[in-house]
Amino acid sequence: MTKVPGQKPLLEETGELSVFAARFFREAFRSPFEVQEFLHQCYLIGYKSLSLVGLTAFIMGLVLTMQLRPNLVYYGVESQLPAMVGIAIIREIGPVITALIFAGKIGSSIGAELGSMRVTEQIDAMEVSGTNPYKYLVVTRVLAATLMMPLLATIADAISLYGSYLGVNLYEVLSWKLFITQVFNYLDYEDVVPAFIKCFFFGFAVGIVGCYKGYYSSKGTEGVGRSANSAVVLASILIFVIDLLSVQVAELIW
């Protein structure tokens, strides 16, 4: 089989990523803490992603409602539309779609940024300046991604529900109060809590994969492009794997 240049065997890559992630837990709880850089990353990763996440969430809620409605009308249960859409959005579609958008935007930007810092020796310069580059660059970004992802998913859920409400009102008149009451009547803690918790894992996966790919980038500008690209691909796969595992774990607990 032809080996793609710069691509590592699966087991080697998994091992290196695990070691890289383990180092995060060692470094994250050891002083000095890069608070200023962490807050800056929260702003970049969280606030700057809000418009994109909000727009996609709104369209997602609207389209999902418009797609589901004909089938529900066919079976005469269109009154259940808010509840169905609500459960689908909050349990699965909101977190996963937000995580995929997050992987595309944040995973690639972290991979490209750290990759370009690696090939232009900025990471070495940081080390020479008496700064632990792992702590300054990786810990702050991974922590920010881990904490911002659940917030973004929560906001995305809310915007998505509003999109769905508008979708319902394209065909019939339904008050916001009634819509939201129908949504929450069918929602339970077991719908909301696991979905919220898995968002932390999604955020961590996106952050750590983006940092790992960028931090060990090589082979000049070509390597930077490859880092950004593979960060998105690997983070997206991990999101689905984590999603599958979280469903299994949630079923065991509840």
């Binding site: 370009s116 810092m117 232009t120 020796e121 900025q122 070495d124 310069a125 940081m126 080390e127 020479v128 300046s129 008496g130 700064t131 632990n132």
Partner: protein, 245 residues
Amino acid sequence: MEEKEPVIIIRDVHKAFGKNVVLDGFNLTVYRGENVAVLGKSGSGKSVLIKCIIGLLEPDSGYIEVLGQDVSRLSHVEMDQLRAKVGFLFQSNALYDSMTVRENLEFPLRRHWIDVTVEQQNAMVMEVLESVGLPHTVDMLPVELSGGMRKRIALARTLILKPEIILYDEPTTGLDPITGLEITHLIKSIQHARQASSILISHDLKLARIAADRIAMLIDGKCRQEGAYEALIAGADPQVLAFFA
């Protein structure tokens, strides 16, 4: 007669990347206040050598002593303390793209000299920018600067901690001949003004002739010959002479 004080001692250093042997028993001593140029072909291991000196790479074997400390035995904290005394000018300048010139210069200051006040920081930034002739660039981003200006700013960042030793990795590579000559004279003036010791990694003969007190030839992973520029070109080693041809 006053005895010269060694600030960098490199003894029998070996470094290989897989089967590619880069340093194969390299030896060199640099004395206080001296500029030493290490000349060699591209890919001969010059950059690897100075990265071993500053602890960015670990040699496979051998001994490196910087300012009286064995680099291989230093803890992270001790290494950081040592690095505050050793400036490193990167070949690619390594300026932080997302930061202004001021922030680039303040970064090592904030890391190494925690007690310095904002006013002192500002004064030090402006002083070092004036020493490289670019005080007007203080609020600009690195992307707004020319190649020569970026090199000067990188040099300013190297100087801001007032290092005792400066390691220059290809300081004139990628610059036009006039800017390269300006940087060469700047390096020489820094040596006189600050009494700093330096290692200049390069394949630029003009830089070596003007700025270096002594030249070490890195050939086949070893220090093949060392001495003054005139002594080397007057020598008989064909591999060394081929470099000067």
